[in-house]
């Protein structure tokens, strides 16, 4: 087992609608999909990034794509029209989530 950044085993894309962000996360290799399921949970994201991801987080699983979709309410500091963040769309929330350290067998 080793602690590795998620980005070494997974890729991701962020999208926004209003004040809701979604980040999809896909394992490069099928064998790492269980790592994503175990480590990239709503609770973990709230714990690590709760000051930014302020609302409810829902996870959708897509086993046929070895991927998940994290849908995060109140996660964009108001959304692109209201946020004063330079990245008002939260385009880089994918990079934020890929920075998580995960346990890889």
């Amino acid at each position: 087992m080793s602690r590795r950044p998620l980005r070494e085993i997974a890729h991701a894309r962020a999208g926004d609608k209003g004040n809701r962000s979604n980040v999809s996360v896909f394992a490069y290799e099928a064998e790492h999909y269980p790592v994503i399921l175990a480590e990239v949970t709503p609770a973990r994201l709230k714990q690590e990034f709760g000051n930014l991801l302020r609302g409810e987080i829902t996870r959708y699983e897509l086993p046929n794509l070895n991927g998940i979709n994290m849908v995060m309410d109140q996660a964009l500091e108001g959304g692109v029209n209201e946020s004063l963040n330079l990245d008002g769309h939260g385009k880089s929330w994918s990079s934020l989530i890929l920075s998580l350290e995960v346990e890889v067998p």
């Binding site: 070494e8 894309r13 999208g15 979604n22 959708y60 897509l62 794509l65 004063l84 963040n85 330079l86």
Partner: protein, 448 residues
């Protein structure tokens, strides 16, 4: 005449300011039946309303004439590639007139241009109407109302296609519907054929952001390399009657079409993948099946759908006042501390001298900015740009922010330089729902 088994549809733009040269290349070499230019976002629509209020001839996509001038002759030359676009934004009739003017200027006679109308429901919105986000009424938002548009579906576009329009211009329609409409017309998909409409919507969704499905918005050097990104090609979908498709791009263009890229786009801006809400259908992407079918070719199937939502979504736009942003740089040893001190000075003076209580934000670009609220620890940096931002209904407030940042040059920490400041008008958009029978679409034609 027998219908072709494969309908070839390309994407010429995936957002309002998208590149033009890949679209020209697609029309010239793509042997396309249709090309879609998707150019409307919630904010572009709000700005379109504002442009039209300032000048009744404007309010459509500012690049419309430039795009039409480049592609219309090629579309005719290549057997009548049909153009479907939402570049009408907040002035569909104006966009159709402007397109006709370009066509006449180019000597393209007999070009049939359709304007799809009915999405603008500004006059049907009252102060008592509920907004789904943020959960109050229109009146309670407390900001000047700009306009409201319903998301039309493929059914609004179909009459234009059935009348053999060469160019179809819309305002707000659901993005995948721009693709679904020509597919419905070509393959004769009925309006309640939910599974195939879901499959077609999945294709439209993959295509709607143009280079997003061919290697744009993807590269991460060393991990996710993309060949010749500067020349990334725009996508083509080769669609068959069952709603499955091959997503590909032109030979000789940059980018990549493979499972990784297509998967990322499949869930882009999607919430529940089993219930992607559109005016045409509730699409289900959960059964999506992707197979590599040669270099830069992904075969996609397994999309499905269920009965369309009862109501239509509406975007309601309000004046958002001003966004003021001002920046100054600190470099060298202790740069982060000097930038932080400068930010504290600005904060104190805006509150004490100017009495401003508008929402503000301080960024230390290079040390702690975009992810600052998510992370606790940041590295010190030798090259930091202080950014102060504010949203206010008051122009004076916004100007004071710029003034306070600029005056740091003489009165702030040592070595501050490179001041820039600007004030931009801002909009707010919220979502509501409207009964279908409150929205009636129609089509008007211009022939050159």
């Amino acid at each position: 005449m027998a219908k072709k088994d494969i309908y070839r549809i390309g994407t010429g733009a995936g957002f309002s300011s998208d590149r033009l040269d890949p679209a020209i290349d697609l029309v010239a070499r793509g042997n396309l039946d249709a090309i879609v230019f998707e150019c409307v976002g919630e904010r572009t629509l709000a700005f379109g309303h504002r442009d039209r209020q300032a000048n009744p001839d404007k309010g459509y996509n500012p690049m419309l004439e430039r795009r039409m001038r480049a592609i219309l002759p090629l579309c005719r030359e290549h057997g009548g590639t049909r153009v479907v676009t939402n570049m009408g934004v907040a002035n569909v009739e104006g966009a159709a007139e402007a397109t006709a003017a370009v066509a006449r200027d180019l000597g393209l006679s007999g070009l049939k241009i359709a304007a799809v109308l009915g999405d603008d429901v500004s006059e049907d919105i009252s102060a008592d109407d509920d907004l789904w986000e943020p959960g109050c009424t229109v009146g309670e938002v407390g900001r000047p109302f700009i306009g409201a548009n319903a998301y039309l579906g493929a059914d609004a576009i179909l009459p234009a296609l059935e009348a053999d329009a060469d160019v179809v211009i819309t305002g707000r329609v659901s993005d995948p519907s721009l693709f679904l409409a020509p597919l419905r017309q070509h393959f004769g998909w009925e309006e309640d054929a939910w599974p195939v409409l879901g499959a077609g919507t999945m294709v439209g969704h993959l295509m709607e952001c143009a280079a997003h499905v061919t290697g744009g918005y993807f590269a991460d050097p060393g991990l996710k390399d993309v060949n010749d990104l500067a020349n990334v090609g725009f996508p083509i979908a080769e669609v068959t009657a069952d709603g499955s498709a091959v997503i590909t791009k032109l030979d000789g263009t940059g980018g990549r079409v493979d499972e990784q890229v297509v998967k990322e786009q499949l869930l882009y801006e999607v919430h529940d993948p089993t219930r992607y809400l559109n005016p045409d259908v509730v699409a289900d992407f959960s059964g999506a099946d992707l197979k590599q079918d040669g270099k830069d070719r992904i075969q996609i199937s397994g999309g499905s759908g269920t009965e369309r939502p009862e109501k239509l979504k509406v975007t309601v736009a309000f004046d958002g006042g001003y966004l003021a942003e001002a920046e100054v740089s600190y470099a060298g040893a202790n740069a982060t501390a000097r930038a932080r001190l400068a930010g504290d000075v600005v904060e104190e003076r805006l509150a004490r001298i100017h009495g401003s209580n508008a929402p503000r934000r301080i960024d230390l670009i290079g040390a702690a900015s975009i992810h600052a609220s998510a992370l606790e620890d940041f590295d010190e940096s030798r090259d930091v740009r202080l950014r102060c931002a504010m949203r206010s209904q008051s122009r004076e407030d916004a100007e004071n922010l710029l003034w306070e940042v600029e005056s740091l040059l003489n009165c702030g920490p040592s070595g501050g330089g490179g001041y820039r400041g600007h004030i931009t008008p801002s909009v707010m958009t919220y979502s509501a729902f409207i009964e279908r029978d409150q929205v009636s679409s129609s089509v008007e034609f211009i022939e050159t």
